[in-house]
């Protein structure tokens, strides 16, 4: 039962990713190489989900079992997640700073600043 759910999930996610990647490629938001990369990667996920014995066949029973392979994969996924999070955070901060700089360059702000400083100078002269 559990294996069937895993297979179904893997199939659904693979279809989703490949369709989204293909649409992005069609809309020129993604290169063909990227589309190919995601397709191959997710097809590999499907193969492992449906035929887990492939891992043993490729890597050998004694050298690396299915459990160890999944453990290493999990560590790798967490590392990728961390890298993506750090990069997204960095890009978000830069983007926010650009948005702020644009807002602060509004002529209304500099105009109000000029008027205030002129008023201050006049007040000082009167004193």
């Amino acid at each position: 039962m559990l294996l069937t759910i895993i297979k179904f999930l893997a199939l659904a996610l693979t279809l989703l990713v490949i369709i989204k990647s293909y649409l992005a490629y069609r809309q020129r938001q993604e290169t063909f190489v990227m589309f190919l990369f995601w397709s191959v990667t997710w097809l590999a996920v499907i193969i492992i989900a449906f035929y887990p014995e492939v891992i043993t066949a490729v890597l050998g029973q004694r050298r690396l079992g299915v459990g160890s392979f999944l453990g290493i994969a999990l560590v790798f996924v967490y590392f990728v997640l961390y890298r993506v999070y750090v990069k997204a955070d960095r890009i978000e901060k830069r983007m926010h700073e650009i948005v702020r700089q644009f807002a602060l360059k509004d002529p209304a702000l500099s105009k109000q600043g000029r008027v205030k400083s002129q008023l201050r100078r006049r007040t000082k002269k009167v004193k």
Binding site: D89, H96, R100, F102, L109
Partner: protein
């Protein structure tokens, strides 16, 4: 002494005019009051309404969140030479008349960050239960990272003094976590934090903060604490 009132606003066309109109024209000890609205990429007539009410309106081209809008407003206020900044929400949940209480407290206590606390006021009874518990959890999270116990860590109604303004460039969080970040930063710099009671007006259709947003804020504060 010059004071700026900064109002972050995202799609607040129904309330922004009244909020700006409600800002006191005269406050004891204050020579000039600047009213600044940061229009955080609203798709309605927030900017036009605020401008009509007499505020200086600066617009973000894309929505970056309440904290980001407050930070832009504070930087604009500093650019205009203001020594004090009061921030309040644009959705009408704060009574602008309470600005008097915050300014009085600043002159009396010499605090660098004064938080308008909904929990110190009698009107707290009008706060929905889920929000009440959400705020309490956020107080706990803020205490964990700052070591400072405050009754209303998520209040957007605040007064920021000169010494706090001088370190404001260190802040860069843009969502609701900005409220906690400000308390953490003030404590780190050894600045004085105090609270005054404020009225709270709750009404149907108010957007506000999702009470379940606490986990997201906790993760962001944790990430910030780890990475510096």
């Amino acid at each position: 002494m010059r004071l700026a009132v900064v109002v972050p606003a995202h799609n607040e066309e129904k309330t922004i005019g009244d909020v700006i109109d409600g800002i006191p024209r005269r406050i004891d000890g204050i020579s000039t009051i600047n009213r600044i609205v940061i229009n955080d990429a609203s798709i309605d007539r927030t900017a036009a309404r605020a401008k009509k009410a007499g505020a200086l309106v600066l617009s973000h081209r894309i929505n970056i969140g309440q904290g980001g809008a407050v930070l832009t407003g504070i930087k604009a206020a500093r650019q205009l030479g203001n020594a004090l900044v009061v921030t309040l929400d644009g959705d009408g949940q704060h009574d602008p008349d309470d600005i008097h209480a915050l300014v009085d407290a600043h002159f009396r206590d010499k605090a660098d960050l004064i938080i308008g606390s909904r929990f110190l006021s009698q009107t707290i009874e009008t706060m929905p239960a889920l929000k009440w518990y959400g705020n309490k959890i956020m107080n706990g999270i803020t205490f964990t990272f700052s070591g400072k116990q405050v009754s209303d860590s998520q209040s957007g109604f605040r007064l920021i003094g000169e010494r706090m303004l001088s370190v404001i460039d260190e802040f860069n969080m843009t969502g609701y976590e900005f409220c906690s970040e400000m308390i953490i930063g003030a404590k780190r710099h050894g600045l004085l934090i105090s609270e005054v009671p404020i009225k709270t007006i709750y009404f149907d259709g108010r957007q506000g903060q999702n009470p379940l947003n606490g986990l997201n804020i906790f993760l962001r504060l944790f990430y910030r604490a780890v990475t510096g």
